[in-house]
Structure formats: structure tokens, C-alpha cells
């Protein structure tokens, strides 16, 4: 009992209450308090008096601090994983939900962008191939158009010949050698033009070593007016060498490129004015 009295008298209990003891001393005091009710009672007295002393010295903190403190405690509730029970479920869930929502948003946004990218690529490829197709079609149509306009020009020129009053049309009839042959010819003395209507040439087809040659007879002498080929599918007017005056025209079959003088026994057609 004397020992306990002495222990209390050392002042260690006061320092213990003030938190001014080493961990060893702390354990020692707690041991003593457990064993000896007198120590425990003394501790309690010291604590009570210091608590009352603190109450006497109380300083009221500002009004708004209370809500600030409660706010920070409740905010921290959300992070508290060791929540045994009766947490603030609303708050707790709210924090989690917001976080998850955000996560999902970015996931979905990423997936959506990816899908959009794939869709755009497919669309782009398809549009590009269709564009290519259209370009090809357009080229084909332009080509056709060109062809037609060429044809129209040609026809126009031919038509011009038939309309021109200075042109005279002459039908060269087949000779005894080829009675069925016919060559239509247009001649304009004033314009010095001779043209063969290739669509109306009725002559046996020439082989590749021979060509037909047109002659003009001027004062009984033959004048070379150029060569041409006779084919079944020939069309249009073929302009020959120019001449101003002619009594008659004749066509002979000559070696390819023509001859200086006509081979008379190969005369196919003949026509006179």
C-alpha cells in the first residue's frame, strides 16, 4: 500500500494523463491501474479535474466551423472501407455511382468512336468505288459522244456536197468486164474537187496487192486522180486529187499505189458527161 502511495506521489499519473510519458511508462501505468483500484481512482480524479479545467478554459470556435467539420467527416465517410454498419448509404453509393458512370462513359465513347471509324471507312471505300464506276461510265459516254459528233460532222459535210449546186453527180457504169459495177462520183469544176461516194461503190473487193485508181480523161488523155480501196463496209465521201476539167472518169484496177498510165484492160467503170 505504501508502494502505491509512493507511486502516485511520483507524479507519473499526471504526466500520463497529459500524454507526456514514454510508451513503456504508459504500459506500466495501465498495468498498475488494472491491478490497483487506488491508482485507477487517482487517475480518474486527475482526468476529471483536468477535463473540468479544460471546460473552464473553453474557447468557442466560430459558428460555421461545425458544419465544416461535419462536412469533412461525412465526405470521408465515402472512403471509409471499414464501415461496420449504418453507414450513410446515400452518400456512399452516390460517390461510387458517379465514379462508375464516368468510367462507363469513356468506355462507351471509345467504343462508339471505333464503330464510327469503321463505318466511315466502309462508307468511304464504297463511295470511292462508285465514284470510280461513274467516272468510267462518264468516259465511255464522252467517247461515244465524240464518235457521234464526228459522225454528225461527216454527214454534215456530205450533205453540204449534195446541196452545193456546183457539184455534179456522175454515175460510172460498169464496163463489159464487170457489168454490175457502179461508182458514184461528185465533181465540182469551179471548186476543182472530185469526191467518191464510198457508200455507193459497187466493185469487187481488191486484194492487198492491188488498188483501184481513178482517172480523168481530159482531151482523150488519162490524168491520175489517186487510188482507193473497195470494201463492203466503207462509208462517207473520199476526196480525190483536184482537177478543173474532165470529159470523162474511169476506174481501173492497178498494182498497189497506182500506176502512171492506166491499164486499159483492167478498166472497171466508166462515165461521161
Amino acid at each position: 500500500m505504501e508502494d502505491i502511495r509512493a507511486y502516485i506521489e511520483t507524479g507519473i499519473l499526471e504526466l500520463y494523463v497529459l500524454g507526456d510519458v514514454t510508451p513503456d511508462e504508459k504500459l506500466q501505468v495501465e498495468e498498475m491501474a488494472k491491478k490497483h483500484p487506488a491508482v485507477k481512482a487517482e487517475l480518474d480524479e486527475i482526468e476529471r479535474s483536468l477535463e473540468l479545467y479544460a471546460q473552464e478554459n473553453a474557447v468557442e470556435p466560430s459558428e460555421n466551423l461545425r458544419s465544416r467539420v461535419m462536412g469533412s467527416i461525412l465526405t470521408n465517410l465515402g472512403d471509409d472501407n471499414n464501415f461496420p454498419e449504418k453507414p450513410q448509404p446515400v452518400n456512399h453509393k452516390l460517390v461510387e455511382l458517379t465514379a462508375r458512370k464516368e468510367n462507363n462513359f469513356y468506355k462507351y465513347a471509345f467504343a462508339a468512336s471505333l464503330a464510327l471509324l469503321i463505318a466511315s471507312t466502309i462508307a468511304l471505300v464504297s463511295v470511292y468505288s462508285r465514284l470510280q464506276q461513274s467516272t468510267n461510265q462518264l468516259e465511255a459516254i464522252q467517247l461515244q459522244n465524240q464518235h457521234f459528233s464526228n459522225r454528225v460532222n461527216l454527214m454534215d459535210r456530205e450533205l453540204g456536197i449534195f446541196r452545193d449546186p456546183s457539184f455534179k453527180l456522175l454515175k460510172l457504169q460498169g464496163t463489159a468486164k464487170t457489168p454490175a459495177s457502179v461508182v458514184m462520183l461528185a465533181f465540182s469544176p469551179s471548186k476543182k474537187k472530185v469526191m467518191i461516194d464510198m457508200g455507193n461503190v459497187k466493185l469487187p473487193e481488191n486484194d492487198k496487192d492491188h488498188q483501184y485508181q481513178l482517172w480523168a480523161l481530159v482531151g482523150g488523155k488519162p490524168v491520175d486522180l489517186g487510188v482507193f480501196d473497195a470494201k463492203n463496209d466503207s462509208t462517207g465521201m473520199k476526196e480525190m486529187k483536184s482537177i478543173a476539167l474532165a470529159d470523162a472518169f474511169a476506174v481501173t484496177l492497178e498494182p498497189k499505189g497506182g500506176s502512171v498510165n492506166p491499164t486499159m484492160d483492167q478498166m472497171m467503170v466508166l462515165g461521161k458527161f
Binding site: 499526471e14 497529459l18 500524454g19 480518474d44 479544460a54 473552464e56 473553453a58 469533412s72 470521408n76
Partner: protein, 170 residues
Amino acid sequence: MVFSLRNHEKIAIEALYDMYSAALFGVISRIVVDTAIAEDVLQETFVKIWHSFSSYSTEKGRLFTWMVNIARNLAIDKIRSKDFKNQNKNQEIENTVNSIDEQRSTVYKPELMGVKDLVDTLKPEQKSIIDLVYFKGYTHVEAADELGVPLGTIKTRLRMGIQQLRKHFN
């Protein structure tokens, strides 16, 4: 009260705040003079009480003793922290006079008048030791240095002073 605090009930911490915030703030604001910082420390104190409540047991002593030790330690940590020291260094010259006044004003605070009367019933040497250890957060070793008195004497005076208080409150 202790039970519902252990269960983290909001109403318990509110009751605890209403009962003890002023007493704790009294201790904190004598260690940390700047009111705004002292309020920060009080906030930290309650957050810490809330989170580490499981480490308190009634066997170890009164709840207030446990809480006031938390508050005192946090307050001492604060004034020794780098932030706090830098903040003081960075104060502008014009404000220095005021802040010095504020720092000394503890002595003149009206709420301290009652304490002064009370402490006047103590002997001056008891009063100064209780001032240093209880209000200023000194350890008794630091207090012995400050007052230039042997450790044993410090302990005795502290004990006598507290006994004086016990008589006063009884």
C-alpha cells in the same frame, strides 16, 4: 455515446462536437495562435477522432483525456510543420506588428480571465508549469528547461497544481 461512436453514427459525432469542441479548441488555440489554423486543427482533430475511434477503450480512461491528447498532438505537429514555419516567414512586414500582437494577445483574451482567476488560486510556480504543459503543449522535460528547474521539481509542482485544481472543483 461510445457505442454509437464506434458504430460511426453521425448523430454521435455531432453530439461529441457540441459537447467538447469548445474545450478542445481552448487547448488548440493556446498552442496554435492563428485562429484560422487552430480551426483547421480542430477539424483534423474531429476527423481523426472519427476514424481512429476503434483504438479508444473506456478502460484506458476518460474519453476527453483521449481526445485532448489527440488535439494537443495535432496542434504541436502543426506548429512544428514546415508549412506553418514557412507561412510565418512569408508574412509581410506591415502585418508583422499585428500578428505579433495577435500572438501575444492570448494573455489578454477575455475568455482567459476566468482561468486567470482560477490559476491565481494556484501558486505562481504551479501556474507556470500548468500553463506550459497544458496550454502550450510543452513536455515536462521542455518545461524544466524553460523554467530552469530540475525534472523532479517540475513533476512535483505539476502534481501539486493539479491537486489544487481538484480541490477547487470539488
